[in-house]
């Protein structure tokens, strides 16, 4: 009896950690639920229930002993690499290739890994994406470099501020503020031509695209609470970006 209880605790730990990593990395709610359920059932526990919102997971095992745990999620980022790793791990577990202890160790390691690309590369990619978006939105090649600069600076600024101050809203607001400032200055001193299109394209790396698509997917899958709260987060982020730009435009 004591043994099976111990085993159940371990399974619970593995399931919750897997769910936590996925939810923190921005996975869709139904995928997190599905992964946790699969892990539990491949370790021999078939009756599980989970309730999930973007800010916490409640997971409950039914047999042999009813057991429920809650895990709080405070920070959410986008890290597709971690989602992929946990997904692969859960496939391995369902094939019976990993023991509970091994799985837990692997998950701990996944949790520790940080971004697979260095920050400078991310900033560079944000800059490149901004430049490309300018062309996609039918801008001229003359504005390519200004958009790259504005996008890169804005993204760097928001990442840096997010590390200093843990208020996401403020980081995004300041990023947008910097983009607005750059665009206004560039156009004023003849370095760029079309202010509006430069701003639109350099703001794209900050836009909460993942949140929007996830919110829609969650709502369609019937996870109404998750969908609505992700939608609210997306709305706040968009509002922060919009407010930053608007502030800059109104004082110029």
């Amino acid at each position: 009896m004591e043994d099976s209880l111990q085993k159940e605790r371990e399974i619970m730990k593995v399931c919750l950690l897997a769910g936590q990593i996925m939810l923190q990395s921005g996975a869709e709610t139904y995928r997190v639920e599905d992964t946790m359920m699969r892990i539990a059932s491949s370790y021999g526990i078939d009756h599980t229930h989970s309730y999930m919102t973007p800010t916490g997971i409640i997971f409950s095992l039914e047999d042999p002993q009813p057991m429920t745990r809650l895990s709080r999620i405070t920070e959410r980022t986008t890290n597709l690499y971690k989602i992929d790793r946990v997904n692969t791990l859960s496939r391995q577990i369902s094939r019976g290739e990993l023991s509970i202890a091994e799985a837990y160790r692997e998950l701990k390691e996944i949790e520790r890994t940080q971004a697979i690309y260095p920050l400078w590369l991310n900033v560079l990619m944000a800059a490149v994406a901004s430049g490309c978006f300018l062309i996609m939105f039918r801008g001229t090649w003359l504005d390519f470099v200004p958009a790259m600069l504005a996008g890169g600076i804005g993204y760097y600024c928001s990442v840096l501020l997010h590390r200093l101050v843990p208020v996401k809203f403020f980081a995004e607001f300041s990023g947008a503020l910097m983009i607005g400032l750059c665009a206004v200055l560039f156009v004023k001193y003849g370095f760029g031509q079309a202010r509006d299109i430069i701003i639109i394209s350099s703001v794209m790396p900050l836009v909460p695209g993942l949140l929007i698509t996830n919110a829609i997917r969650d709502l369609m899958a019937g996870h109404l609470v998750s969908g609505l709260s992700k939608g609210a987060e997306a709305f706040i982020t968009s509002f922060a970006i919009g407010a930053g730009i608007a502030f800059m435009l109104s004082i110029q």
């Binding site: 921005g26 986008t78 597709l80 997904n87 690309y117 991310n122 698509t213 109104s250």
Partner: protein
């Protein structure tokens, strides 16, 4: 004209994959999904299809391609679909709405805001249709197998 669109949409989507920490070996596929979606979007608009309808079709195709990739490379669908959907997100319209609101032109602001909302709805519809297609295909496969 189209060549630079193809090139930039591919690079932009792959760059977004990197910003979102997509695994290295799937960056090409991320770029491809984004490229197809964007090319469909602008081509449909060029032949006179309304913007909302073009968005539905583009979002549908991005999700369909992503689900094919997801099955082929055994990765979660989200890895491919996010970077492909990003170009379709109505950032420009949202910006217009915000700018007009700041400049006290509320009628214009409401117009752009409503248009942005419609575009988000179109993305949602595209995703929904693609999901339904996926489920129908799966059901047919299962019934054939049994």
């Amino acid at each position: 004209m189209y060549i630079e669109q193809i090139l930039t949409s591919f690079i932009a989507s792959a760059a977004f994959g990197m910003i979102f920490n997509a695994p290295k070996q799937s960056l090409i596929q991320c770029g491809f999904a984004g490229m197809v979606g964007w090319m469909l979007y602008i081509w449909l608009q060029d032949i006179g299809v309304l913007r909302v309808a073009a968005t539905v079709v583009a979002a549908y195709c991005v999700t369909l391609i992503s689900s094919i990739f997801a099955k082929k490379y055994r990765k979660p669908i989200i890895v491919f679909s996010v970077s492909g959907i990003i170009p379709l997100v109505p950032g420009g319209l949202a910006y217009d709405a915000m700018r007009n609101a700041v400049e006290n032109q509320y009628d214009q602001a409401v117009q752009s805001g409503a248009a942005a909302f419609m575009m988000s709805g179109a993305i949602a519809l595209g995703l929904l249709l693609s999901e339904v297609t996926n489920q129908i295909i799966r059901k047919i496969m299962i019934s054939k197998a049994s």
